[in-house]
Subunit: 252 residues, 2 copies
DNA sequence: ACCTGAACACCGTTCAAGT
DNA sequence: ACCTGAACACCGTTCAAGT
């Protein structure tokens, strides 16, 4: 779990983009990063650059167009809308998820459950680095190669663990959803200025509750928000994996 | 599960807002809904009105100010920002969740697990009616009385089912998170114009995958997106409840 | 086919000034 | 204390026109 910074330079090789800018005279040699020809690749690359420097909330069509030295209208040739743009960025980052331990069936990484937890934790780490991405992931599910590889890896581990196919098919969804939602939630807490205040507000609410009207909240008290994020997340994954393993599709 | 339309007219009684507009002459009797004095209540009420008529994405500070016949700056006396506004709206709607079956310990509503599933389904139904709300819920957890009542109800059922306190304390979070995330996801599918296309894109990706590189995806095939939303959601809740019940906090 | 300028129709938030 | 007009600094998306 070294949380190595994502390297979105995998897939998406530049398909035939050899400066079709036309014979309109060579621009002065190095005014800018080059004003390379527009392409999906170039757009995503620029988007990632902006995100690293200024955060996803600054990756807007207009800001991106400025970065690429053009007008916003030009981008609509390659992406249908902002959501699709964000999905493309996410796909790129998904390349940084460590699938390794999922594929080696050797015992060096622990049993299948431990390795599945590690895989999901790696996924959340990627989302954590740019938390607003997690938010995108909840809205626009990517369908790119990196996402498919992640799904396959989860399914492989569930299969290894003997989880019945039907349960695995539905479980992979919940597992990734829980991971994404957890990242999105933690994300907002880290990013937003007022998130701490909101947390405090909730904690105060939980404590200020009377045992008469809310006996269970009062009984559990501080336990409701106990544990480190790491402990909680590991428990959550184990719990959902257990549930997937033990819950038949047709109720008893 | 009658999914009765939410009636956000509970809590939040108007505290002392008796038209402190001052002696600046009575406005002509009925130009508008009244231009009643500004207050958190009035703001939330107007927000709900706009949401029902035009959707949450139209509930902006500016639109809301127009509805209240004032400038956007005026709203900042009562809400700190847009996120807080959306959280207040959500709290209001949470009053429509049917807590009933959770509280009656009688056997008429099924065992604790069935009743917990029913409660969570009721919660998702509320979110489904105005799906973008689910999105808000993922970002800004409300801390109002209706949210606390929901948490208490879930905890009560987990307690009834004999779930150990520590697991219940962490489980309530996951349960509500899964419910919210599921609603948010389904939500986007229903709302967005291109959501269907995206779904199709994912399905095509899943089908277009070779058995060589993605054996598990290929093996499960159509099962990955089988079942009705209702079947899936019920299974998800049962699985997470099972997981919460059976997963101790300290790993074996 | 691809690219663009300009426009349309909006946003959140702040601030100095009023009452 | 509460309310406001006006401004600052932005948005996404479309469209007619160019190359």
């Amino acid at each position: 779990m070294s949380t190595s910074s994502p390297s979105p330079e995998a897939s998406q090789s530049s398909r035939g983009a050899v400066s079709p800018k036309g014979p309109s005279g060579p621009r002065s040699r190095r005014e800018r990063p080059a004003k390379s020809a527009l392409s999906l690749d170039a757009i995503v690359e620029a988007a990632v650059r902006i995100m690293r420097a200024e955060g996803l909330q600054r990756v807007t069509m207009r800001r991106l167009a400025k970065e690429l030295d053009t007008g916003p209208a030009s981008l609509y040739v390659y992406v249908a809308n902002t959501a699709e743009l964000h999905a493309a960025i996410l796909e790129e980052f998904l390349g940084a998820v460590e699938l390794g331990p999922a594929q080696e069936a050797g015992a060096d990484g622990g049993d299948w459950c431990d390795r599945l937890v590690a895989l999901l934790v790696s996924y959340t780490h990627v989302l954590f680095e740019h938390p607003s991405l997690a938010h995108s992931a909840l809205v626009a599910r990517p369908a790119g190669p990196n996402y498919l590889a992640l799904v396959e890896a989860v399914l492989a581990l569930l299969h290894e663990g003997g989880v019945p196919d039907g349960q695995a098919a539905w479980g992979v969804d919940v597992l990734l959803q829980v991971a994404t939602a957890t990242a999105a939630e933690q994300a907002t807490r880290d990013e937003t200025v007022s998130a701490d205040d909101e947390d405090q507000a909730l904690i105060r609410s939980l404590h200020g509750v009377s045992a008469g009207t809310h006996p269970r909240i009062a009984a559990l008290g501080g336990d409701l928000y106990s544990g480190t994020p790491g402990q909680r997340i590991a428990w959550i994954f184990r719990a959902v994996i257990n549930g997937t393993l033990n819950t038949p599709r047709t109720p008893a």
